[in-house]
Amino acid sequence: MTDLGAMYIGAGLAAIGVGLAALGVGNVFGSFLEGALRNPGAADGQQGRLFIGFAASELLGLIAFVVAILILFVVK
């Protein structure tokens, strides 16, 4: 296998993390909706926490994306 091919495979493997973070973000919003439908009165007060959870789980996907980009464009 050439170095370039190995690089592309590595970047593709790193991109798996982005999809896994999508599971996390979906879980955050799904659980929020589930709770919000049970008690709509309390939902508005929890929006700050919703976005904190979203930010925390999204960050890991973004880091996976950064790793893929670093492999593609920075590593020579």
């Binding site: 976005f51 973004l62 950064v66």
Partner: protein, 260 residues
């Protein structure tokens, strides 16, 4: 990259707009497209606020928009920082609206006019990291000014057993020191990823048209529909990222003001 494709990274290039490079004491201080769009964002924000500050008894639409913007930030600050949070409202306001306007100006589809190419200021980690370290610096200054050395008790959670301290204090310390990096990285990567995605689908449209034939046309059409959809998603991401940046900054300020 291979085979003469459209380079999706070219759009992030920072280059001087007026004339050539300007050197001062060995540093390149030329007026770049990044600086130009920061000025554009500042002007838009100044016009928006100046138009809303008419103080009429019966407010017009513009004044209501400006008042809503102010009360939105005011509410965020009161809820998340608590007592003593009002004095940070101007900073959070500037932060939120600078990021929001910079994000929105960045996704304006003005590139269909030749020679006009909007530049997303927040798609550079140099810009977002400065904003993040500014927030982190304010947290440190406020924390040490109000609590002195007691500020270090931030690393000791309430109710944790004493034998856990050797583990939990380093963990809390690392999670505190990582804050500015995660804050800056999140905004930068979210904007960069969106712009790369738009550029990639844009290149699919061009290459589909160049290839010709019914298949090329179908690829172009589907890619164009995808661009429209992704652009709508990008508008949401612009607002959410600005909101998250302001929200996390106010939460960190809460730690500095109240210690837990």
């Amino acid at each position: 990259m291979s085979a003469g494709k459209i380079d999706p990274m070219e759009q992030f290039k920072v280059e001087p707009v007026l004339g050539g490079h300007l050197n001062l004491f060995g540093y390149d201080v030329s007026f770049t497209n990044s600086a130009l769009f920061m000025v554009v964002v500042f002007m838009l924000l100044a016009v928006f606020m100046a138009g809303g500050l008419k103080r009429q008894l019966v407010p017009g639409r513009w004044q209501v928009a400006a008042e809503d913007a102010v009360s939105f930030i005011d509410n965020m600050v009161t809820v998340n920082i608590g007592s003593g949070g009002k004095k940070f409202a101007p900073y959070i306001f500037s932060l939120f609206f600078f990021i929001l306007f910079a994000n929105l100006v960045g996704v304006l589809p003005l590139a269909i006019l030749p020679g006009l190419h909007t530049f997303a200021v927040t798609s550079h980690i140099t810009v977002t990291a400065v904003l993040a370290f500014l927030s982190f610096g304010i947290v440190l200054v406020v924390g040490f000014a109000t609590h002195g050395l007691k500020f270090f008790s931030l690393f000791v959670p309430h109710g944790a057993p004493a034998w856990l301290m050797p583990v939990i204090i380093p963990v809390e310390f690392v999670s505190f020191m990582v804050r500015p990096f995660s804050l800056g990285l999140r905004l930068f990567v979210a904007m960069t990823a969106g712009h790369i995605l738009l550029e990639v689908f844009g290149s699919f449209v061009v290459q589909g048209l160049n290839a010709g034939g019914p298949l090329g046309g179908v690829v172009s059409l589907l890619s164009f529909a995808m661009i429209v959809g992704v652009s709508a998603l990008e508008l949401l991401v612009c607002a959410i990222q600005a909101y998250v940046f302001a929200l996390l900054t106010s939460l960190y300020l809460h730690d500095a003001v109240h210690l837990h």
